[in-house]
């Protein structure tokens, strides 16, 4: 204990020349030594991001508790209103109006959010795990793995995203030996595998870059000198130290996956719309209908979608500033 209190005294002395420092002051100073604590504090101080986080949590809670918060089932068809069997505008019975089969749009936005958010989070999680591992190994080892990674990503970057998604989607569907993994063409699983397969590479590139600079640092050298094996260095030293960029790319992957899924669903290449829907599917359904003035089909899912995307974007931005304050200043 004595050495810690000496240390405290040493760092507080210049600031408090007279009298003993209070316990709070000492704690504050000792706390700020940890970089992750520092990052967390910077994140919490980011007002816009906190607002975004709160809104996002509210949306997420509403979506998680869909059985309570929705008013009708996902594919439940409402009785006709004033004899109209489809496209009823917003009313007390259906807050957001109804669609072509007279299904309640309010409930469907929430049910669709389940699919969209689930896909977004799962894809981001898997993509980050695979990308982190491959990127760290490629960055640390270099050589063949590294070259292969960079050439593959270069190849995939040469195509527009949507083109890539569609071509690889067809490819996955036709390759029978991939069936055990991808499942049915119009299932959620298929979309997740497809998006993971195309999005882990950007994470891998980011992690690789970070690891390339980290591996020259002294603590890696020290670890090598202590006789650590390569897997231990990667898992215990390199990945934890690259956690900032990894978390930031996680949030970007969530947005990327949600938007990619919506784009596919929008053009009818998504999950089977008969049983399930996603935000993209709902937006796609509004495509031809707005020209006859059915504004609710676009406005309600669109607003929820954009707010969610913006919230995640803001949160990711705050993470970036929190983990890398220097870069944040330059951008501001």
């Amino acid at each position: 204990m004595t050495d810690i209190s000496e240390f405290e005294a040493a760092i507080t002395k210049p600031h408090v020349p007279n009298g003993e420092p209070t316990a709070d002051e000492v704690n504050a100073l000792v706390d700020s030594v940890s970089p992750s604590r520092l990052a967390l504090r910077r994140f919490l101080r980011h007002r816009v991001a906190m607002a975004a986080l709160i809104i996002f949590v509210v949306i997420a809670l509403i979506i998680i508790f869909a059985p309570i918060t929705t008013r009708y089932g996902e594919i439940e068809i409402l009785p006709p209103v004033d004899g109209k069997r489809s496209f009823n505008p917003p009313s007390a019975k259906a807050w957001f109006g109804t669609d072509e089969l007279n299904r309640d749009l309010y409930s469907r936005v929430i049910w669709g959010g389940r699919v969209s958010l689930f896909i977004g989070l799962t894809v981001a999680l898997f993509a980050s795990m695979i990308g982190t591992l491959v990127g760290a190994v490629a960055g640390y080892r270099g050589g063949l793995i590294d070259d292969m990674l960079m050439r593959t990503t270069d190849l995939f970057l040469a195509f527009p995203t949507l083109v890539l998604l569609l071509v690889v989607r067809n490819l996955f569907d036709q390759l029978s030996w991939l069936n055990w993994l991808v499942g049915d063409l119009k299932s959620i699983r298929f979309i997740i595998v497809l998006l993971v397969a195309l999005s882990w590479m950007s994470v891998a590139r980011i992690v690789r870059g970070t690891v390339l600079s980290l591996k020259e640092r002294e603590f890696v050298e020290a670890s090598i000198a202590l006789g650590s094996s390569a897997p231990r260095i990667v898992v215990r030293h390199l990945i934890p130290n690259a956690i900032g960029p990894i978390i930031v790319s996680l949030t970007t992957s969530i947005v990327g996956a949600i938007v990619a899924e919506s784009t596919l669903a929008f053009f009818g290449f998504g999950i089977d719309p008969v049983y399930k829907t996603s935000w993209g599917g709902l937006l796609g359904a509004s495509k031809g209908q707005v020209l006859t003035g059915k504004w609710w089909l676009l406005v309600f899912p669109g607003v929820v979608f954009v707010i969610t995307i913006m919230c995640i974007n803001f949160i990711g931005d705050a993470f970036r500033d929190a983990f890398d304050p220097k870069q944040g200043q330059a951008r501001r």
Binding site: A158, P160, V163, L171, T292
Partner: protein
Amino acid sequence: MTFLVFVAIRVGTDPVARYTRINARASAAKIQQYKEANGLVGTIPEQYVRWLWKFVRFDWGVSIKGRVPVWPSIKDALSNTLILGAFASVIGITVGLGIGIVASLKQYSKFDSLSSAGAFIGLSIPPYISAILLQLVFAYYFTKWFGLDKPFLPPSGVYPPGHDGSFDPVLRLKHLILPGTVVAIQTIAVYSRYMRASLLEVKNSDYLRTARAKGISETRVIVRHALRNALIPIVTVAAIDMGAIIGGLIITERIFEYKGMGDFFLTAFTNGDFPQLMPWMVLVVASLILFNLIADITYAFLDPRIRL
């Protein structure tokens, strides 16, 4: 690289299956004839070599569906996309740069925070939402409010249906406005952020202080010293974006039924029409690579510190 794409498309799409589905009672001889007509005989590498040989001799063949020659239709699509892309980029980049310049010159002002918020919203709205929103407002509501008998701004197409095919600049422009705006919104958002960041960086540099110390007027400092240097990274980004335009407006073109490269791709793709898909891929990838090269060269040219 073209080989990989060829394999991916050939494995991913199966025109024969489509043919047998549509013509369920086709005889084996008929199927064989169909295969031969579309270059589907032999192993995939064989098919590839045959395709490549034809491709380099500019014999791009005919589409499987409708038997339309590929080159004229891809040429039309290309010119339509280039017009839309140029229209949207010119507006988007000029407005975006303007906003970025003003925002960074008046950092932390109301305009600055307002434009930043706007850029964030613009970046978070996917093109399909803004596209349909514009259709709703301009093609439906304006028509209703002003009591017009036809849409205030046409919601789709390059020309109205039944147009005789002659060139009509006014009609053309009207059809460009909505899709152009969708693309321009994104461009404005991106470029205003770039410009602001780039100019802010230059503003704190030593050579600007030197320029001021020499007693040059503030306008001259900004225009001659700050802007010229801040624009260097933007020019390269713009060059890369130009390359992406040719294949990158798929969503917008599809919603507005604008007959460009993106619409061409989606139609060909849904038809599994690989005689159309392959040249499309080659063109898109070639333009991306070419403009990346141009970006590198201009960067080296504008900034003498960079050596290629």
